[in-house]
């Protein structure tokens, strides 16, 4: 049956049809829906793991036990999972093991623009790169065959435009392979030096065998063109841009597998055209490989290694006319994302700003605490870096900074990799104050459950990790809970913990305002008689409050009645 599917949904369908039985992932845009869609198939066990390293190791365990398994992550998640990745390369698999990684060129929702293809080469693991939903489905099935045939994990690289575009797919039936028997095999599965030394040459041989397979693989195909002045090598969404820009004018070598690459096929293709051009987003990965083959090639001298490409960009660089539309000669105000009305993070950031504290931030919705008017965050690096960074900051600080610096981290991010930083704070005794912004959900990626929520991916009740007990268990004696809507209490708690002579954790607890079960009191009203137009309420950056004719105005369609603005009004005009 033909149907429209998101690339991520089609990927999940491919997993299902290939008989994948175990999925463990950590959410991250643009990869999240692969796992969410997989979880909708009852025949398939799917879970959210605390982080990507755990997810990959769990998927490896399931492969070892004999079931086809999978884990998904965004590009930066692969950094977290890199440790098992490089050694799983050596062990190989029992049943097929796939790793889905979604890059985010253009940084629609990410903190960097890394190119995950380098991991395939570095870890010596094959990587397939679908260019639309149909290929996402097809490649998932093919990748399991490759995984088992060549005894290797297989990476499937998605990107925002493939993950989050719907295109037409034809679905098939699920074929469940028999469970593979687990057999003890120390030389293959115990990677200590003696065994690993024997495995490494086998991995090099495996890469050669995969490269030989790549030479004749249908997914690395040449599409003939009428004009051989250019020959274009491309993959992923760039293939679509090239075909749209050039149609069948120039010959195209479309790589479905970008590691290892088919050397002879590339050489033959290069020899058949006047000028070889690689069209790829971010780094010149394929281009570098062509250069290693001694070929004369263009790529990053024509196309930037920053941001996304598009059909118009391809046209421009190949000298094809582009018809731009009319642009309005007008300063169009930006519309940046904002914290939602009623967001429990807003008031905490207001308090932190008011107290003029240095705030080491983390990854989540609350990163928006960095933008005006709150502007309350000093640094954001990666998952967990707020807590570990705070330890170093406090230890290395001059006296004047002592008691003036905190870390803020969400509940899901804390479990992901904040808790190890907290262990360091306790163990190496830095007088740090960590604020856990517990909104009882993984918010930014669209409301995924996590170990602190009491529900699993399938929505069933499960063990709920108690954050207070966890913090105490790692050695933090001062642990307290505050309600972020009560700003006076928050300020008092933060002052007290900053002045304490030992590390502390403040849990700012209130569920995300968008969660369906959260009951709101309803919009508040502004009294234009009482309002003096002082704009104190404007300092929290609430999208529901604006000024009209010099008076505060509440948008009743947005306001949920959290009451934070009321606490700022000295004239009792909001109620």
């Amino acid at each position: 049956m033909k149907t429209l599917m998101l690339g991520n949904e089609a990927f999940a369908r491919g997993l299902y049809e290939a008989g994948c039985s175990f999925v463990s992932s950590y959410p991250g845009t643009p990869s999240t829906e692969i796992t969410e869609c997989a979880a909708k198939y009852e025949e398939l066990y799917a879970e959210w793991a605390p982080n990507e390293k755990v997810a990959l190791e769990a998927a490896f365990g399931a492969s070892l036990a004999g079931k086809r398994s999978f884990c998904a992550m965004k590009h930066v998640g692969l950094n977290v999972a890199a440790d098992p990745l490089f050694t799983i390369s050596y062990t190989g698999v029992n049943a097929g093991l796939l790793i889905g990684v979604a890059d985010d060129a253009g940084m629609h929702s990410s903190q960097n623009e890394q190119d995950s293809r380098h991991y395939a080469q570095a870890a010596k693991i094959p990587m397939l790169e679908p260019s639309d939903s149909a290929e996402a489905l097809h490649f998932a099935k093919l990748a399991y065959e490759l995984s088992e045939k060549f005894d290797t994990a297989v990476l499937i690289k998605m990107c925002t435009r493939v993950s989050h575009s719907q295109s037409v797919v034809e679905t098939g039936e699920r074929v469940l392979p028999a469970q593979k028997k687990y057999e003890k095999n120390p030389g293959k599965y115990i990677m200590m030096p003696g065994n690993a030394k024997k495995r490494h040459p086998e991995i090099e041989e495996r890469t050669k065998a995969l490269a030989a397979w790549a030479e004749t693989a249908e997914i690395n195909r040449i599409e003939e063109g009428s004009d051989k002045s250019y020959g274009i090598i491309t993959s992923s969404t760039c293939y679509q841009y090239v075909k749209e820009a050039c149609g069948d004018t120039y010959p195209v070598l479309k790589l479905g597998m970008i590691w290892p690459m088919p050397e002879q096929k590339i050489r033959d293709f290069a020899a058949s055209v006047d000028k070889l051009v690689v069209v790829e987003e971010l780094d010149g990965f394929i281009e570098a490989h062509c250069r290693n083959l001694g070929l004369s090639v263009s790529g990053k001298d024509m196309f930037s290694n920053v941001g996304e490409l598009s059909q118009n960009l391809v046209k421009e660089k190949l000298g094809i006319a582009v018809q731009a539309g009319a642009s309005l000669d007008e300063n169009i105000p930006a519309r940046p994302p904002v914290m939602c009305a009623g967001c429990p993070h807003r008031s905490i950031f207001y308090v932190l700003k008011k107290m003029k504290l240095t705030v080491l931030g983390d990854i989540g919705c609350y990163t928006l605490g960095a933008v005006p008017p709150l502007s309350a965050i000093d640094s954001t690096v990666c998952m967990g870096a707020s807590v570990s960074g705070l330890h170093g900051f406090v230890k290395a600080s001059e006296e004047e900074w002592a008691g003036r610096t905190v870390a803020v981290i969400g509940d899901s991010t804390f479990i992901h990799s904040g808790v190890t930083g907290l262990i360091n704070i306790a163990y190496n005794e830095s007088n740090a104050t960590v604020i856990i912004l517990d909104n009882s959900i993984t918010g930014m990626t669209g409301h995924q459950q996590n170990p602190t929520t009491g529900y699993n991916l399938k929505g069933d009740p499960c063990t709920k990790i108690d954050l207070e007990s966890l913090c105490r268990a790692v050695g933090i004696r001062r642990v307290r809970v505050v309600d972020p809507y009560d700003m006076a209490a928050c300020q008092a708690a933060i002052e007290e913990e900053l002045s304490a002579k030992e590390p502390s954790v403040i849990i700012s607890r209130r569920p995300c305002a968008l969660l369906k079960y959260v009951k709101h009191p309803g919009p508040i009203c502004s009294d234009t008689e009482k309002c003096k137009g002082c704009k104190a309420c404007m300092n929290i950056g609430c999208p529901a409050i604006s000024m009209e004719n010099g008076k505060a105005k509440i948008d009743p369609t947005l306001c949920v009645g959290c009451g934070v603005c009321k606490q700022l009004c000295k004239f009792d005009a909001l109620g």
């Binding site: 033909k2 149907t3 429209l4 998101l6 845009t29 643009p30 999240t32 829906e33 629609h108 929702s109 639309d132 925002t160 435009r161 493939v162 989050h164 575009s165 719907q166 295109s167 037409v168 969404t237 679509q240 841009y241 075909k243 749209e244 598009s310 059909q311 118009n312 582009v322 018809q323 731009a324 539309g325 009319a326 642009s327 309005l328 007008e330 300063n331 169009i332 105000p333 930006a334 519309r335 940046p336 994302p337 904002v338 914290m339 939602c340 919705c365 928006l368 005006p372 008017p373 930014m444 990626t445 669209g446 404007m538 950056g541 999208p543 409050i545 604006s546 000024m547 369609t557």
Partner: protein, 203 residues
């Protein structure tokens, strides 16, 4: 209103058609693209619908691309390619004007949603945008979708009002639209959404 047929071209030599759906995160732009995608696929076209999730959903500017034809390659619409921009908010229509093809059409909800820089008073919301867009030679169909949605029963039905307005440019039958709506909205809001669609269609 002149009819620009967005759909109904001969299969076999049809150029790719493009609609951009733009608005503010949370306005329901994704439902509109889902509905269109379903209808177009049903007609046998190759279809691509592209969305952006994550950070941009938090009240930010959002854009969805809907493309169809004999063979659609790129999932995105580039500058100068859109046959039509369906905008859920006035400023957002202005933001993406460059993406419109010469002679293209903008269907716009005349509602203004102030972005944070405007709320904060650092910049002003541009004035007379509808007139300025028309002055560029763009066909502008403005509609007060919010008022019509409220008339239908909920301010949240703005998306169906706009779909109704857009429907006038397609050759789908009323039954086909209703079938697509039934498959895309929760059953308890079905009547409300159908009403919103009809109000938009006749506006």
């Amino acid at each position: 209103m002149g009819k620009c047929r967005l759909c109904g071209g001969m299969r076999g030599n049809m150029e790719t058609k493009n609609i951009m759906i733009v608005g503010v995160g949370g306005q329901g732009t994704l439902l509109a693209s889902k509905l269109l995608g379903r209808l177009l696929l049903g007609k046998g076209y190759d279809v691509k619908v592209s969305e952006v999730h994550g950070m941009s959903q938090r009240g930010g500017s959002v854009v969805t691309y809907v493309r169809w034809g004999d063979r659609v390659y790129s999932p995105i619409i580039d500058k100068g390619q859109a046959d039509c921009i369906l905008s859920f908010e006035l400023l957002e229509a202005a933001r993406y004007t460059e993406y419109l093809k010469k002679g293209g059409r903008i269907i716009v909800n005349s509602q203004q949603v102030n972005p944070m820089p405007v709320i904060a008073g650092t910049v002003a919301y541009p004035e007379n945008l509808e007139e300025k867009l028309a002055a560029l030679g763009i066909q502008v169909d403005a509609i007060d979708a919010l008022t019509l949605a409220e008339k239908a029963g909920s301010s949240k039905a703005v998306n169906l009002v706009l779909m109704g307005k857009l429907a006038n440019h397609f050759d789908f039958t009323p039954e086909e639209w209703m079938d697509a709506i039934e498959h895309s909205v929760p059953s308890k809001f079905l009547e409300l959404n159908k009403k919103a669609f009809e109000l938009g269609r006749s506006a």
